[in-house]
Amino acid sequence: MAEAKELLKVMGLKKYFGGLKAVDGVDLSVRRGETMGLIGPNGAGKTTFFNMVCGAYTPTEGKILLDGHEIQGLPAHAVARKGIARTFQITKVFKDMTVEDNLLAAFALRRAPNLWSSLGRSHTRRNREEAMEYLERVDIAALAQSKAGDLSLGYMRRLEIARALALQPILLMLDEPCAGLSKDATHDFMELTGKLQAAGTTIMLVEHNMAVATALCNRMTVLSYGVKIAEGTPQEVQSNQAVIDAYLGEAEEA
């Protein structure tokens, strides 16, 4: 059987919190090797959608297929084991551990898959060298022995991405990776993402900032009030009247 073009396929995904329809029947697909942007004004349901794909929330209804296998409703750790790696909007590095240990922690998925093997030694030369390679990819190898909690926000984001990459995921999901970053750090991030794209990584990213999303994504899906209002290339989406209205509405409210 030929590999499906779509790596991730989401069908009719819903999440209701009591009476609130945070996500209300969204279809979406991510093709291999592309960068899909999930955008929309505040409160559109982007993060809820993202969290359902990552297993943080259980959908009320709908299907999520990764590589043809249903993964909806699986707990977050099981989703990670299926090959989805993620970062967090508010970075969640392991603050009291060194940068190197943060990275090594991501190897366990491949090197120590169960409780008994977890008793084995993690800090072997091979593993540490490999950890350094990932840190070099995001240019923080020099900080390997620093405590992760002491890093600047930009470096924490990089560490989080390196940690996610170390899982060797088939899909990388980034939740507002540029939120709170300085202009320089945002620029650095876009450069890094460019490298990942060139290496063939499939990426899905939630982004509030239209300019960043436009620059990075091959395709975009726009959510507003829990439903999909547009989909297409950045150019198509930008000229879509519904999208303009949704963003304008937000500007007026603000």
Binding site: H77, A80, D101, H123
Partner: protein
């Protein structure tokens, strides 16, 4: 011999502090009732040797396993009940376990239990042999603790301690690791209880009451939770403190309480924790040559 008895007490305290450190220091789960597991080990070993006639060599690991089984239950509980709710629940477990020892006839109730002196390989255990056994156990547990920060388990527990959601995003089932930490920690505490029972020759429920748990936690926090050597140092200091302050015997508890307050206020990270005053001295002594390199 007086010194030998003190050394045994220090050895027991070190084992307890290390076992607690696995749960609270590494996995980040509160434990205010560790003495319950110490007691479960002690009573298991006492009953197995005195009533069922088991040899000490088998009763020792059995004590650990029994404590670990109850510890595993607590671990499962910790999946649902968290943080301060869990902390107070562990106090509750301590009280319930002590009450069961004290009120159930099978456990000797208020009379306590007499424990036979153990024999191993034809040697009858006096204090010297107990001390030797404690040294062996301390070395083994210490080696495990030293291994922990460089093991997958150590990394997993670090992840769970720092952020369960992030740990899950790396494929860790946080619940499994929490339960595992409780199981290992309480296993060591149970074995220690067994040694205690056979050293004392007699146990009663109050030996494992809530203040004992507080004492063990204080040792680990005082030395530095999550560090390898901190709990050992804390155990030595707090076990020896009453002996050292014998000359002011009437003020012992006053000094003990005051010491805890001052230590927490001025060395909250523990004696060997990050940037503690001992660590700074150590770094200054060791790092004179290195300092230039780092900035060079």
């Amino acid at each position: 011999m007086y010194e030998q008895v003190i050394a045994i007490n220090v050895g027991l305290a070190m084992l307890l502090a290390m076992s607690l450190n696995i749960i609270t220091g590494f996995a980040g789960q509160p434990t205010l009732g560790h003495a319950a597991f110490y007691g479960i080990g002690a009573y298991t070993s006492a009953l197995l040797t005195a009533k069922a006639g088991w040899p000490f060599l088998l009763a020792l690991p059995a004590a650990g396993i029994m404590a670990a089984l109850v510890g595993m239950l607590l671990g499962l509980f910790s999946v649902r009940v968290r943080e301060d709710f869990l902390a107070v629940t562990t106090i509750g477990i301590n009280f319930v376990v002590v009450a069961i020892f004290q009120y159930v006839e099978f456990f000797g109730a208020s009379m306590g239990l007499a424990v036979p002196k153990p024999e191993m390989f034809g040697v009858r255990f006096g204090n010297t042999e107990i001390l030797g056994l404690l040294i062996v156990l301390n070395v083994l547990v210490y080696l495990f603790m030293r291994h922990l920060p460089h093991s997958w388990l150590g990394l997993a527990l670090g992840g769970v301690r720092n952020d369960e959601e992030a740990a899950a995003s790396l494929g860790y089932n946080a619940d499994h690791y929490k339960v595992f930490a409780f199981t290992i920690g309480t296993f060591f505490a149970g074995m220690t209880g067994s040694v205690y029972a056979h050293f004392m020759g007699f146990i009663s429920s109050t030996d494992f009451s809530f203040p004992v748990s507080i004492g063990v936690l204080s040792m680990a926090v005082l030395g530095g939770l999550g560090t390898v050597s901190g709990p050992l140092i804390g155990a030595i200091i707090l076990t020896l403190a009453p002996e050292v302050f014998r000359f002011v015997s009437d003020y012992r508890m006053l000094v003990y309480g005051g010491l805890l307050v001052l230590m927490m206020r001025f060395q909250p990270q523990g004696l060997v924790g990050d940037d503690s005053f001992l660590q700074r001295i150590w770094a200054a002594v060791r790092g004179r040559g290195k300092e230039g390199k780092r900035h060079g």
